[in-house]
């Protein structure tokens, strides 16, 4: 611009010395008029993992901003809980994180037992941990399978469902339900372990290790899958901690935090297992690939725990699993107790006033905090990446909306 201005000035001043020098008019090059587009992803969309609505602001295919809208599955859990007796809350807890109902129950009954200082028989603890870990594998199977679906790979999903079926069969044999169990009761269990479960479990561990290897070959280390997920949606560890992320989402950033290790509950201190964390060996720390990778590793660690349970399980123990269930459940006081579900740290804050009904039950659900970080990690990526990032968070809307 200065050069043109100079030349024009010279021409002006030589030709019309008396005329006032006018500023030359700069013509802006004509640009195509573009505007941002608002795209509503969900609540009816194949990849929102339930009834989540994402208001996505797009510039072409580039994600400018994401606003998650939740509440489509809100069922007033907290209000319901205030009108139920303590044991009656358990089926409602099942329906929070319906993908991992056993883990949710485990968290709730542990909280109430801590409130009442109940000593649970050793056998019951073994069964609880066994089922919680089986549930973790079942839940991660869905997480990994649907993640494959989000990336466009259909087949791993069905392989994983085949294995999950075995787990559900074990649950069904023991407590009659396949999905929403109401199995763990305060101080005990609804049924003793079915005699078929332990042999089935031994068989399952072998089969599951084979599937684990197969999924690694088919999905995790597939070149296209790695290209799609590596370096996408990078979450900074500091942001993750401040944002309240937990579970695989936090561990993928390299933060070694697992309630089973750091604040052991039940009998987790008896087992030898590693806390899976993300690694920068294959991809950037804290990205979508590492979140998937942490789940794959946790699957393996859960199998290790199950193997140790199978070794240590007191087969000759004939204790009644309902023997420690208190006659009167009227705890007084308040407690915050946390457990590690497949999605992260599930906390229960319970206030009791010596009544059969809790005065307040406030769950701290991991997927809710994890989802709140979605806008932070998906700005500036493409819309295809947004779906991959959302899939890597592994949300369950039942738990987010409650």
């Amino acid at each position: 611009m200065p050069e043109i201005l100079e030349r024009r000035t010279i021409i002006h001043s030589t030709l019309h010395t008396s005329a006032p020098i006018q500023e030359p008019e700069m013509v802006e090059p004509r640009r195509l008029h573009t505007e941002e587009m608002v795209l509503n992803v969900g609540p009816q969309h194949p990849s929102t993992h339930g009834v989540l609505r994402l208001e996505v602001i797009l510039d072409g295919e580039l994600v400018v901003d994401v606003i998650p809208h939740i509440g489509y599955l809100h069922r007033c859990f907290e209000k319901h809980a205030e009108h139920m007796t303590y044991p009656q809350v358990i089926p409602y807890v099942d329906r929070m994180d319906y993908i991992a109902a056993m883990s949710g129950e485990h968290g709730y009954v542990t909280a109430v037992e801590r409130m009442m200082n109940i000593e649970v028989p050793e056998k019951v603890e073994y069964i609880r941990v066994l089922f919680a870990e089986l549930q973790r594998i079942a839940s991660h199977s869905i997480a990994i399978g649907t993640y494959g679906l989000d990336a466009g790979a259909f087949t791993p999903f069905l392989y994983l469902f085949r294995d999950r079926e075995t787990i559900l069969e074990m649950f069904e044999k023991t407590c009659g339900a396949r999905f929403l169990y109401n199995y763990m009761w305060i101080g005990g269990l609804s049924h003793d372990l079915h005699p078929d479960v332990l042999p089935m479990c031994r068989e399952f561990v072998k089969q599951s290790r084979a599937t684990h290897k197969e999924i690694n070959n088919l999905l995790t280390f597939n070149h296209i899958f790695m290209e799609r997920t590596a370096g996408i949606g990078v979450l900074d560890p500091q942001v993750a901690i401040n944002g309240g992320a937990s579970g695989p989402m936090l561990r993928a950033c390299g933060v070694k935090w697992d309630v089973r290790k750091n604040d052991p509950y039940s009998i987790y201190d008896r087992f030898d297992f590693d806390v899976a964390v993300g690694s920068s060996e294959y991809a950037t720390l804290g990205d979508s690939f590492n979140r998937h990778w942490v789940r794959m590793q946790e699957w393996e660690q859960s199998l290790n725990i199950i193997e140790q349970i199978l070794e240590q399980y007191p087969i000759n123990d004939t204790t009644d699993v309902q023997s420690a269930i208190p006659k009167r459940i009227k705890p007084d006081g308040e407690i915050y107790s946390r457990t590690e579900t497949p999605r992260g740290e599930l906390g229960f804050y319970i206030v009791g006033k010596g009544d059969v009904k809790p005065w307040r039950v406030k769950p701290r659900s991991p997927a809710f905090s994890n989802l709140s970080l979605l806008p932070l990690i998906s700005r500036g990526y493409l819309i295809a990446d947004l779906i991959v990032i959302l899939g890597s968070i592994d949300i369950v809307l039942g738990e987010i909306d409650r």
């Binding site: 466009g152 069905l158 392989y159 999905l219 296209i224 899958f225 295809a384």
Partner: protein, 363 residues
Amino acid sequence: MQILQAIYEFFAGLLKPGMLSLLLSILVYAAIPLVFILLYALVAILGEMKISAWLQDRLGPMRTGPKGTLQPIADIMKLLQKEDTTPTAADRTLYQLAPWVIFIGAYAAFAVLPFSAVYIGARINTGVFYILSIGSLTVVSILLAGWGSNNKYSLIGAMRSVAQIISYEIPVALAVLTVVLVAGSMDLQTIANLQGGGIQNWFLFGGPKRIAGFGGSMNIVLTPVMLIAFAIYFVGSLAETNRVPFDVPEAESELVAGYHTEYSGMKFAIFFLAEYASMFAVGSIAATLFLGGWQSPFGYTSATIGIFWFILKGLAFVFVQMWIRWTLPRLRVDQVMNVCWKVLIPFGLVAVVAASVLTVALK
């Protein structure tokens, strides 16, 4: 031409020789590929269901007919009965035109496919050129569908698709050009004829010995070039037909169903049919260019057996496309473009240059 003659004589006997009989016989002659497409679609739909079931460790349809073999017919009946909706906000003309344009594109490609020595719809001396240009009609129809639907998902899908198909036409054309350079002809029937006499004469393995010169043994040096060209053509054809891993235009996890999100009933079925038809078309073109077309892999073949080999090779390609679809994840839209511009086109150019230099050197 013999077949057209026979049909004309049939009509001439039935009515009377003249313009009307000629017109009718041409119509019937042109409808032969249509009948083939419809029959093949039934096989392909069942094949897709059974192959995916087989890869995914399940049974697939088992209830309709013996082992579920009548399932495609049941599916088509269902689609016919469905309500054919048009969104109120859609551009009605464009919306209703799109499925027919895509089907015309896919059907027209069948005109120059040499099914056997005697049956080829139209033997034109620029068959390869015709195929490449008629394939571009897909772009028009996808854009019509995406714009006409007035749906954001459809529009994004259409935009992706157009960018992708136009880009991938270049490597596909380069790969085809490699064969044309060696064969010295753009007529698909001539290209198929050249490859007679067995597997060693296929263009995939350097082409027929009598072209190569030097007593016919030098075609081995062309083999690597042809293998590269074949790989480029195959990858490019996957992208041109929007198949996995290049199915970004209809990526169901992101764009619901891409450009055909709003279509239902018979219009959706036409999109579906066109996709299957073009899957076979690109497969059989690959077979004609590289794998001998209707020629048998073992020595020379008669015209009737030729049609069997042609369909077998075409279906083999369709099978591979399905196999890939149920195995691989999907690429991202920019990665699709990277594969095209940074990998396929440079290699395609190398293949064209190498083929021309070698062809001249070997003559």
